[in-house]
Symmetry: C2
Subunit: 417 residues, 2 copies
């Protein structure tokens, strides 16, 4: 009997009607002869509503109490989904993250999953139950309730699939799969049938909000096939796995991603001594600021400028830290900009093709878009541009790499997972 893990996001369970629709889909999978574990997020905007409530109390809620508060959102969804499945006549029970045994590090607001205990899940599956698990949450070794940060339910799903050695982890979303870029920005963006973990990781990290990056990492680590598909239809979606089709592999650039959640901080006239960068980024790491791109440029012999990007949410904290570091190391001051975006191309085939980056820069130059920062890896090139120019940048790049296509043609020969 195959084990299928299914994850439904907040919009799929936004109201009782949608919850009943999810219930029917889950029951179909069970009736097809699978053991089914379902991970759900909080209903629609309920997490935002809870955050609003907290903000009415205080501007700076403690992260521990925020986790206590937000964890209730998923607990509501799992109970309601279990009720809906029970009504359809199937054995079912819901479990919170702590009840499943989703062990996380002792960090509030964005804890990492350390381990998932499959024992309780196996017990319930073997007893014939459909098991509904609260996404986004876990508990520390001492029983403190933690949350994994936005998008954490994806990670819960893949981690649960890994722990159970599930046959597939299906991530249901409101789009048909992973596209060459955001179809809201480029209307004829093309759906990809298969994509590697590394490519997906770059796309996910770069702002394609289909899958949470951490979930792809976990998928890669435990080799969990992830099927990103629509909750509105039965079309095959995109399979994220280690090896892709030969035809698709041939594509130099697989997708164009963009991320509007980019803020840049620059630190001027940093003394050119060993250990300065370590001091800065260690201080940021200790305050748990996620730094993305880092650029250091030697302007003169004895002084450097260092620039880096963070998510907008982290900007205030990052500025605070950088001010302290500026004092401590005797740098020349700082600057920051919150109205930026990152546009990136991703593709495993890129490494063997020279001139890919140049094509991207040319596409931007032709549109008169200025590039603020550049970063490259083996399978991606990212450019930071002004937020107001991001959409135009994506369209230009998508066109330059001839990624347009039509989904139907692309689906030929693809078998449903």
């Amino acid at each position: 009997m195959a084990i299928v893990v299914q994850k439904f996001g907040g919009s799929s369970v936004a109201n009782p009607e949608r919850i009943q629709r999810v219930a029917r889909r889950v029951v179909e999978t069970k009736a097809a002869g699978n053991q089914v574990v379902v991970i759900v997020s909080a209903m629609g905007d309920s997490t935002d509503d809870l955050i609003d409530l907290a903000r009415q109390i205080t501007d700076k809620p403690k992260a521990r109490e925020m986790d206590m508060l937000l964890a209730t959102g998923e607990q509501v969804s799992i109970a309601l989904l279990a009720m809906a499945i029970d009504k359809l006549g199937h054995s079912v029970l819901s479990l919170t993250g702590p009840q499943v045994g989703i062990l996380t590090e002792h960090v509030h607001g964005k804890a990492k999953i350390l381990d998932v205990n499959p024992e309780r899940l196996r017990l319930e599956l073997d007893a014939g139950n459909i098991v509904i698990v609260a996404g986004f949450q876990g508990a520390t070794e001492t029983g403190e309730i933690t949350t994994l940060g936005r998008g954490g339910s994806d990670t819960t799903a893949v981690a649960v699939a890994a722990a159970l050695k599930a046959d597939v982890c299906e991530i249901f979303t409101d789009v048909d799969g992973v596209y060459t870029t955001d179809p809201r920005v480029v209307s004829n963006a093309r759906k990809l049938n298969r994509i590697t973990y590394d490519e997906m990781l770059e796309l996910a990290s770069l702002g394609a909000q289909v899958l949470h990056p951490r979930s792809v990492e976990v998928g890669k680590e435990y080799n969990v096939p992830i099927h990103v598909r629509s909750s509105f239809n039965y079309n095959p979606g995109t399979i994220v796995q280690e090896v892709v089709d030969e035809v698709e592999k041939d594509m130099m650039v697989r997708g164009v991603a963009y991320d509007l959640n980019v803020a840049k901080i620059g630190l001027f006239d940093v003394p050119d001594k060993p250990g300065v960068a370590r001091t800065l980024f260690k201080a940021l790491a200790e305050r748990r600021v996620n730094v993305d791109m880092i650029i250091q440029s030697a302007m003169r012999d004895d002084k450097n400028d260092i620039a880096f990007t963070v998510g907008k949410d982290d900007l205030e904290l990052a500025v605070e830290v950088v001010k302290e570091v500026n004092e401590a190391i005797g740098a020349g001051g700082l600057t920051y900009d919150a109205d930026l975006a990152k546009v990136s191309i991703v593709g495993a085939g890129m490494v063997s093709r020279p001139g890919v980056a140049a094509m991207m820069f040319e596409a931007l130059a032709d549109e008169g878009i200025n590039i603020d920062m550049i970063a490259t890896s083996e399978i991606k090139v990212s450019c930071v541009v002004s937020a107001s120019e991001a959409k135009r940048a994506v369209q230009a790049i998508h066109k330059a790499f001839e990624l347009e296509g039509d989904v139907a043609a692309n689906d030929e020969g693809f078998k449903a997972g």
Copy 2:
């Protein structure tokens, strides 16, 4: 250092503003040199909102999933109250029922508390923290989330106070204390300064919705002084304890209670054989129907009629059970009535005064109110009447026993707890 346990109900934490007011009151108690544990209910109508949500999914939600759902209500309040207290600069943390170690029996919807582990609470109090505990909820030995039923937060508060050997358990409510009857029904009802556990138990069981009966039982068992007081002012309330003042003890009848949640079921022509009543009430107990009053009358030599009352919520289930029993024992059929009320007088002094019951019946007769059932104990007399006549019955009885008074006079010589 005294340990004070404070309980605030749903209306006291109905919105962020009220939560901040509760936070100030808690902080005052802490600043006065006490160790403070606070038990809170779910915000305002949030429990009803959750129930509505469940009803949109199914008419018969499973009790286990209902507990999973409802437990979120208190978890939201504790997080928000902890945030509000943190904002006032005091060390604080919130704990769910399972986190505290509130162990309950494995029954969903109305579980009894079996034990409260004081270890974690002591640790946090000794570390200087104010501790906020979710009322109404606990966990079984296997970690299943349970709820204690409506009003269960009172029980959580008294059980926590008992486990900590607290100096007082303060139950904050929207009235100044326990009155001779509901002031909404009799405007010049009088506040009682002190009352015994037994009297309070009868009043609580009889529908004076100030304290949950189970909480009074726990208070009596562990001799926890319970101070019922207003969350809107600093007036002394009513102390529930073992011995009351001499003056008040002299009062034959302490209060008049009423309960509109009364349904009656009658079973006709029950064969007059040993074990028949046992069969009926065992079947009801097994389905966890709470039976209140029971009356059996021998009408003829070989057949009896049995009548009993239950809460309206239990009526449907009780009728189902009685139908089965009717078949099994060959009785003559059943009848039921959901539009009833119970009106009762309570007083420890009653036992030594003859004619008290007669005075009550006379008061009702003078008003032309028909009595459907009568039940008496050492410290109470209860009459079931038509629901539409309940209010008039309470007014007549309150007057007949001359319970009217003025709160100010009654407070003379009373010292704040």
